[in-house]
Symmetry: C2
Subunit: 88 residues, 2 copies
């Protein structure tokens, strides 16, 4: 049985993971990334990869899964930002 606290934690994890979806859709539609911080997404991507390593080390499937999804979304935004800078 999952207790009440863990349900709140799970909803929190879903929010902070899937929050990046509307940003991915926005840059995908507009191809505009001028106002996005390359430094933010670089540090965020590094942090998520470290969370993934941490999840593997402590053998936590929840941490691994959440961070594989977030790394994919943040990685996509990062590629769009870098491509946007190249073409200018």
């Amino acid at each position: 049985m999952i207790d009440q606290n863990e349900i709140i934690g799970l909803i929190a994890a879903v929010c902070t993971t899937f929050a990046f979806v509307p940003q991915v859709m926005k840059v995908w539609k507009t191809k505009q990334t001028k106002d996005l911080s390359l430094r933010m997404y670089s540090i965020m991507f590094l942090g998520i990869l470290l969370w993934l390593v941490y999840g593997i080390l402590i053998d936590s499937l929840s941490i691994i899964l959440a961070n594989v999804v977030t790394a994919t979304l943040v990685g996509m935004i990062l590629v769009y930002i870098i491509q946007g800078k190249d073409t200018k």
Copy 2:
């Protein structure tokens, strides 16, 4: 003693918390938020508040502190995005 896994987890937490600092500085300098997703920052802010509630419920000082800092940074970006939409 903090073990090696926890050191990786702490570095990960520092990265994903302070990643928002360069984005706050960018919107503060340029006042441009057109490319930022209001939905992303709204869902992220909600998620961080839920992480904060979770931290309080399970009595984890690390989770509480990290999410107070992140909520402040994400909250600042959110205010800038909303202000930017109002003036258009």
